[in-house]
Symmetry: C2
Subunit: 424 residues, 2 copies
């Protein structure tokens, strides 16, 4: 029986218990949120040995890292390594977005290499298999989804909201950058070429049938997301969100867990509104944002741009942050870029969590270690201990090892400690 069906019946599962324990929450809360569709625990029934994660329902904000090959760079080992690096630095989930080389092999190797929930975008394989996106058949799409589910993938992005109506909305309204979603563009090209409705929308019940077989979580992709600030929060984006909100309800009715994907490129003053809207329209479904990126002019630093947007989104209620690496908009990331992206997204998630009352004990511990000038403890508590040690070693104190080389003996903490104990 599906997780959600059990939750609705008031049945506590091992997965719910593991999530409740990891988060320090009552298991009844996890069960209730899952039953309502406000929390998902992506876990394919075929996947073994997975460190389950709860996404949504007021839990700690989760971070996803995308890895995967491209037509230019398709080294299986490298992509597996990226997945491992992502998990090492704290990614809660990994998505394999491969579109080059032996896609089956990469996915299967990643599923074995990491213990966190793994997601994919099966339409990529359906499209690349034929060489041209329009040559794939509707069956190719569903077969790819089934194959990925069969392999144990825990969640899949499916661009069900990219409908003919949405394309018409785009034609009427216009946009600066029409589509920037890879999967979204595949679906649009396919619909236009074949003159047919999106199979993922038209045959959504069939998709739910497949999802039910594996307890596959559906991440409803935002194929119409804005690709630049100028297109943010436009009718095209919200047309798709409205469609998705109906699909969320249909999935819930059949006990299929769903996540809703969101932008993308948004000015900082649009972020909170976008989160609130998703939460209202999709009745609390977990919100999975890509960034968001509140400026378009910083290629090379989009992990920082994404951290700004992600912190604000998560503080406003987004549940799941898709990282952005420094090479976004420029090239396929390396393992080092994956690390930078994961750390930046984790900082954003933690910044938001602290404001939501989660995890501030770590910050308090760090402040104590700073008060005591206890460097070993500071390194232990640092989000990236190796980096902290490396930087301090770059310019070590030569005069007084208890302080750092920013202030040396004029360390405010040391001076304060010496004088504040005295009477003024």
């Amino acid at each position: 029986m599906l997780q959600m069906a059990k939750a609705k019946r008031g049945e506590v599962t091992e997965e719910m218990r593991a999530v409740a324990q990891a988060e320090g929450r009552p298991v009844e809360q996890v069960m209730k949120e899952l039953a309502a569709g406000r929390l998902v625990i992506p876990k394919n029934v075929r996947r073994e040995e997975v460190e389950v994660k709860g996404i949504g329902g007021g839990l700690r904000t989760k971070v996803n890292a995308n890895v995967g090959s491209s037509p230019d760079y398709a080294d299986v080992d490298e992509e597996v390594k990226k997945a491992e690096v992502a998990v090492k630095y704290g990614a809660d989930t990994v998505m394999d977005l491969s579109i080059g080389g032996d896609i089956d092999e990469i996915r299967r190797r990643i599923l074995k290499a990491v213990k966190v929930p793994v997601g994919t975008v099966p339409i990529y394989q359906a499209a690349t298999k034929r060489g041209s996106v329009v040559d794939m058949s509707s069956d190719d799409i569903f077969n790819a989804i089934r194959k990925h589910a069969e392999d144990g993938v825990d969640f899949v992005t499916v661009h069900c909201g990219v409908t003919r109506e949405a394309v018409e909305t785009l034609r009427r309204n216009g946009r600066l950058l029409d589509f920037v979603s890879r999967g979204g563009s595949f679906v649009v090209a396919w619909m236009i070429h074949h003159g047919e409705e999106n199979p993922l929308y038209r045959e959504f019940d069939y998709l739910l049938d497949i999802a039910r077989e594996y307890d596959l979580t559906l991440s409803l992709g935002d194929g119409m997301r804005p690709g630049c600030l100028a297109d943010a929060s436009d009718p095209v984006q919200f047309q798709e969100l409205l469609t998705i909100s109906e699909l969320v309800e249909r999935a819930r009715a059949r006990d299929v867990q769903t996540i809703v994907e969101g932008p993308g490129h948004l000015p900082i003053d649009h972020i909170e509104a976008n989160v609130k809207l998703e939460k209202t329209i999709c009745k609390g479904a977990p919100f999975y944002v890509l960034g968001p990126l509140p400026t378009d002019i910083a290629p090379g630093y989009d992990h920082i741009v994404g951290a700004i947007g992600g912190a604000l989104a998560a503080a406003a209620g987004a549940d799941f942050l898709c990282y952005v690496t420094p090479t976004e908009h420029l090239c396929l990331p390396s393992s080092e870029d994956v690390k930078e992206g994961v750390i930046a997204a984790r900082i954003a998630a933690h910044v938001a969590d602290v404001a939501r009352g989660i995890g501030v004990d770590k910050d308090i511990e760090m402040a104590r270690a700073r008060r005591e000038l206890d460097w070993e403890r500071q390194f232990e508590l640092a989000i990236d201990s190796e980096r902290a040690v490396e930087l301090r070693r770059k310019r070590p104190p030569t005069l007084d090892p208890s302080v750092c080389t920013m202030c040396g003996k004029y360390c405010a903490i040391k001076i304060t400690r010496e004088y504040l104990s005295k009477k003024s």
Copy 2:
């Protein structure tokens, strides 16, 4: 006659005109905001050839970069280079915080090397001159301020709000990390040791006399700023802010331009409130924030933490962002760290400005360049062209040079362009 006095009389100066032109605003607006003390143009009458900057009054958010020696690392050339690097990557102002080696030489060389407004913290020199912070005299402090002004420094941080009353507030309330402001700790140590009131507070009128001689802008330092999330927005911090608000009024009455400094370490949900409070209590005085840093656990990545806090602060109305480098809390930064800090702060400032209706044309241009797959134009528009070029070259396209290696021939923009022009 002082800038502010002229502004009050309705007299437009060359500096006001330069600021108005740089910002695309009516000069009357600049004059009016300056007259009201909501905007400053830091420029010492002795400084020649300075590229004036307006800070506050709804203008573009400005970024400051701190450079300067420490007892461990005191290389004059290196600090001058850091100032140059900071300006090269877009810092609007530079502060020399030197506390080691030949402090006079570093300051004078920086004043010659860069054309942007330069700030200092004269009490550092007063304290380090005697070797111990408590051995300096009240005269040492004022003499250092005069010396810096004499050299042409455009603005100085003065910790006038660190009073005996503030220290008593701290003793009553307690804190996890008492003081983390270097200058603040000097003043506190001095007051406790001598059993006297802070000379910068007690003799504030004398300080104004000096400032008036040079049209020196006073940046009222927040010596009691919280040093960790746990101490944020506490009575100690606001006690100082209340004192500072009175000093702002006294300075305005004597035509001395003032900036108010703010935290520091703040949870993300405190940031907007802190900005609004400063703006209300200090009647719109330009707000200069240090970060702020919404988490304490990311040493090595505090430029990213500062970018999150800075973007939110500036979007809420903060006018001036002090950058944070990756080595904050670990060691004195290198030139490379200065670059990383400046870029991160500029991203934060721009993200906020866009939400305030300033500078979005650049983002629109970037989106157009992306639509056209015009890589040269994308590099030109990038906040750091060199980095963007370098990353793209790291993994260049091998199959189709018009796209990037993230998607290759499955580029959403390319596919969309091909199919969207067709009828569905």
